[in-house]
Amino acid sequence: MRISELLDAPVVDPAERQIGVVRDLRVTPRPRFQVTGLTIGQPGWLDRAAHAWGFAEGRAAAPWPLRKLTQRAARRARFAPVALIGSWGPERVVVTAGFTSLQPLDESS
């Protein structure tokens, strides 16, 4: 399966309720690129921009207006470690825990 199919795929909890979309993956660069989990954001282009432009990853301390614009999306991002992912299927990803129990992205680096 290709990463491009996984990105922006819907993420559902065990009760098939959509809890977000896949925005990014985390990998350990060494010794091999092993996936450690998925970053989950919410639908919408502003949320997508927050991840693509690096705000969610805290990679852009850009001028405050841009930061303000994407702060909400960055704060709402969640990180689902590999262990909590039931199925990776390209149509949708199943996470075996509720959204609230997932760790916020910024505390999972």
């Binding site: 399966m1 290709r2 990463i3 491009s4 996984l6 925005r23 990014d24 993956l25 985390r26 990998v27 350990t28 660069p29 091999r32 690129f33 092993q34 996936v35 450690t36 989990g37 970053t39 991840h51 693509a52 690096g54 990853e57 990679r59 590999v82 990776w88």
Partner: protein
């Protein structure tokens, strides 16, 4: 937890250079491998070239890119997007640098070689691709 990094920030769309820092292309897509024992997935292969890029962009432009690059493919080379093993990546900061030289990658930058031999080398004073 060992240090893990975002794929978007380090790999996806990153510039690929070979061992001697000659640019080859960009990481247009990545292929996941799911080990049979159910362990965590790994990034197995890197896809580069407008065929993979076109598929990822989608829409009218995406389809045009994919079909154009498929048509420009050199006769006889494998169909499908050009790809190589992710194991060849030496490091990812500030760009994706490979352990090997560009010539050792089969089917990569086919358009570059095809154009180099067909067009550019014929023009006077342009030197040779392998210099």
């Amino acid at each position: 937890m060992t240090e893990h990094v975002s794929v978007r920030m380090t790999l996806l769309d990153a510039q690929i250079v070979d061992r001697d820092r000659l640019p080859i292309g960009r990481v247009d897509d990545l292929e996941l491998f799911f080990p049979p024992d159910g362990g965590p997935p790994q990034i197995a292969r890197v896809l580069t070239g407008s065929q993979a890029l076109g598929k990822r962009i989608g829409g009218v432009i995406g389809r045009w890119l994919t079909s154009m690059s498929a048509r420009l493919r050199r006769p006889g080379s494998r169909a499908g997007p050009s790809t190589f093993d992710a194991g060849l990546i030496a490091d990812t900061k500030p760009m994706v640098r490979l352990r090997v030289q560009a010539d050792e990658l089969e089917g990569i930058a086919g358009l570059e070689r095809w154009l180099a031999s067909r067009l550019v080398e014929r023009l006077p004073g342009t030197g040779h691709a392998d210099k």
